[in-house]
């Protein structure tokens, strides 16, 4: 019995191919159903996100399973196998287990340590259960993958720190104001980046929004989806007294807010903190403003460097996650060894029972059936005790397979 993992992801294939082979949420149940019919295996699991399409199988014939999966992709997406087979990666047994654990921890994601993958694996697992595609092995494997993933996220810092400019801005705002709850935001200019930042801030709890733009039409267009108030361009300095966060992204060639002006405003604000996010190039806020007490100024480079530092922090955690993955993969492999052995043990036990029964039947006809049963149990127990103990021991050090092969070869019931 082998575990096989086949797929394509952002590392192996370009986005044009990935989007062609991705499955929409609605199409997934039908895809799993067809995969069961097309791919020769005993258990099936299909994961499709914007950065990966991969499947996991339990199979005795890995080569045929691979061919079946290629055929399935080819048929369902109407593509020649030759167009995509070189993009497919394949992992088998322990490597497949480790790969799935890495995926669940976000180590294989485009954004290292991202959390979304955890939910995506959960959903794919639920679908596999609903379609009766997953059996005891994949269920155990996927549950273990979810456990590793949660453990990595709680015991390491693999998912800590914002890794995009807008989320870094929100994270910094939260470090100043705590969890956002109605903080006022002033937006200068109406660029795309402002809209993106605003969206993140609003969804995190920021409150009233004021927008000031030289071109009123553009300011109104930005204000509309956020239900924001548009204020005249020459009134924005006055509003600095009330707002908490200022996003500046105008195309003005010079400085809009100078040191003296902001220092005066801070006195009027009685030093209530003020957070400037200056994403304009050239910059709109005098760099010296950042030196004023209770004013926090971040330009686009500062935000990018925060993102870079956070990513570096996440990379440092890879090793700790790999250790967890190794440990859990080892545990899984032990469990799998036990599962493989249970079938062989059952037939070994049946064989011994039959041999003993035949001999007892032939030579001890005068004893009662009760006594016969006890006798058979005792003889069978004595014969099986030592080899089964040895097998248990072997399961602990990963040598089960060797013993199972010997037992099968020596005690296979003659046909």
């Amino acid at each position: 019995m082998n575990i096989l993992n086949i797929g394509l992801n952002h590392k192996t294939c370009p986005v044009a191919t990935r989007e062609r082979f991705a499955f929409s949420k609605q199409a997934l149940p039908e895809a799993v159903h067809r995969m069961k019919q097309t791919v020769p295996a005993s258990e099936w699991f299909l994961l499709s996100t914007c950065n990966r399409v991969e499947a996991c199988f339990v199979t005795d014939r890995p080569h045929e399973t691979r061919k079946g999966f290629e055929k399935f992709l080819s048929e369902i997406h109407q593509a020649e196998t030759g167009q995509f087979e070189f993009y497919l990666y394949q992992y088998q047994d322990e490597e497949a287990v480790k790969h799935l654990f890495r995926v669940s921890c976000g180590l294989d994601s485009l954004v290292l340590g991202e959390n979304e993958i955890l939910g995506q694996i959960k959903e794919a697992y639920q679908l596999a259960q609903a379609e009766h595609a997953s059996g005891p092995v994949l269920s155990r494997l996927l549950e273990r993958a979810l456990t590793v993933s949660k453990q990595a996220r709680t015991q390491t810092r693999i998912n800590e720190g914002a890794v995009s400019v807008p989320s870094a801005a929100v994270e910094l705002a939260e470090k100043i104001f705590g969890r956002l709850h109605g903080e006022k935001v002033l937006v200068l200019g109406s660029g795309e980046m402002s809209a993106l930042l605003l969206k993140h801030l609003v969804s995190s709890g920021a409150g009233a929004i004021l927008i000031a733009g030289r071109r009123e039409e553009k300011a109104k267009a930005l204000a509309c989806p956020f239900n924001a108030e548009v204020i005249p361009w020459d009134a924005w300095t006055k509003s600095l007294e009330q707002v908490d966060i200022v996003i500046s992204s105008t195309s003005a060639p010079g400085i809009l807010a100078g040191y003296e002006a902001v220092a005066a405003i801070m006195s009027a604000r009685r030093h209530k903190p003020l957070f400037f996010i200056d994403i304009a190039v050239p910059r709109n806020i005098d760099a010296r403003v950042g030196a004023i007490d209770d004013v926090y100024l971040y330009n686009i480079d500062d935000l990018k460097s925060v993102v870079g530092e956070n990513l570096k922090g996440r990379k440092k955690e890879i090793e700790a996650c790999e250790r967890m993955i190794f440990h859990h993969a080892e545990e899984f492999s032990k469990w799998q060894g036990m599962l493989d052995s249970s079938e062989v043990i059952r037939s070994f036990r049946d064989y011994v029972t039959q041999c003993v029964e035949e001999e007892v039947e032939r030579h001890l006809k005068q004893i009662s059936s009760e006594e016969r049963k006890i006798l058979i149990d005792r003889i069978r127990g004595k014969i099986l005790h030592a080899p089964l103990e040895k097998l248990k021991e072997a399961a602990g050090n990963g040598a089960t397979q060797r013993y199972l092969e010997v037992i099968e070869a020596l005690f296979r019931k003659p046909k």
Binding site: I176, H271, D294
Partner: protein
């Protein structure tokens, strides 16, 4: 862990140890059965200990606030609590500590009167407590009535606690010297 982390841990531990010793000293005197009104003395010891515990809490929150502020200003990775939460800790400690300290002072004066027949003694704990009360009342007024907040106010509260601590330690040393001479 960098030098600033270590400094904050060291200072916090030092402050808690000093307060612990001062409280222990007062408790010893209480259980030794000092003359005078035992109720006044008991209330005084409990209130003074609680008030300084609140101020120590405020002081530690203040150190953490200044550290977070430094990280944000220098654009370094920030972890832990927000400035807002730490500022609440600083002024929350002050808000809780000040009325308790007032109670400690008045019960202390009342006890002094019953034991020594006077409301005032030139003693390290008494001087530093009255000084603390004056400084914290000023801070309380500026923050809660004039709504001044931010880094400078936090620096003032940290300096206030540090100076009270130093005065207390200095005067305790002075008291000990006088006792040795006597």
């Amino acid at each position: 862990m960098n030098i600033l982390h270590l400094l904050i841990i060291f200072l916090s531990t030092l402050v808690l140890v000093i307060i612990g010793f001062a409280g222990f000293d007062s408790l010893q005197q209480f259980f030794a059965g000092r003359p005078g009104n035992q109720i006044y003395f008991g209330v005084h010891v409990a209130a003074a200990f609680s008030a300084y515990f609140c101020f120590a809490f405020s002081f530690i929150a203040g150190l953490l606030y200044l550290y977070q502020d430094h990280l944000l200003k220098k654009h370094k990775p920030v972890q832990g609590m927000s400035l807002e939460a730490l500022e609440k800790g600083v002024f929350g400690g002050l808000l809780a500590g000040l009325p308790i300290l007032t109670l400690a002072l008045f019960s202390g004066f009342a006890w002094l009167k019953t034991e020594f027949g006077t409301f005032w003694l030139w003693n390290s704990k008494l001087i530093s407590s009255v000084l603390a009360w004056l400084i914290y009342t000023a801070l309380f007024y500026f923050h809660f009535f004039s709504a001044v907040r931010g880094r400078k106010m936090v620096i003032l509260s940290v300096l206030a606690f540090s100076s009270i601590l130093l005065i207390f330690l200095g005067l305790s040393f002075f008291d000990a010297q006088i006792h040795r001479v006597q």
